[in-house]
Symmetry: none
Subunit: 111 residues, 2 copies
């Protein structure tokens, strides 16, 4: 698994990692705070953060004891460009957005 697209897509394939990305949408966070809401160990979250960092989806900066995690949304661009190569749809398509909402939201509760 060496190509950038492999790394980005497989990073996005895990729901824990997507949740972390969504959390970082709100604000930068320390590793411990990222881990806090999850039921898995800190070490497991630390590994997820390494994977997200290698994919370029986040960056990590250590200040003192604390390592801050920051979303890097630009990394999604290559994957997004690849998908737009399939070109049958607009990159931001509100109709599709709404259809997606209607279809997927009912499942959101059954985590």
């Amino acid at each position: 698994m060496n190509e950038p697209l492999d790394i980005v897509f497989s990073a996005l394939a895990d729901p824990t990692r997507r949740t972390i990305l969504a959390m970082l949408l709100e604000d930068d966070m320390a590793v411990t705070d990222v881990a806090e809401p999850f039921e898995m160990s800190l070490a497991a979250i630390s590994k997820h953060l390494v994977i997200l960092t290698k994919a370029g989806l986040i960056s990590q900066e250590k200040r003192g004891r604390v390592k801050w995690c920051k979303l890097e949304p630009d990394a999604l661009r290559s994957a997004s460009v690849w998908m737009q190569g399939f070109g049958q749809f607009e990159p931001v398509n509100l109709d599709a957005f709404e259809r997606f909402l209607e279809i997927e939201i009912p499942n959101a509760e059954e985590t």
Copy 2:
């Protein structure tokens, strides 16, 4: 690994499968013809096609002996829209976006 986005992103994470999708961009293809340029066995390609089908990225229709594979770009749309959400630096409505992600950000205070 049950949720739609898990399945779509992990289907996209494999370079063989992305190549297959690109091939199908040109035209529908029979399983044997999809497999021909690859160095792996037909059975391996058949498994990849099952994964792409379960992700909704292709459909397969059997006519006679031949099973035709057809690109279904609508499944890419959901993933593309998901990614576009991260490109917008100030999400218009974060709550709606989180629902859109079809996840619930775990919150230890409530659980």
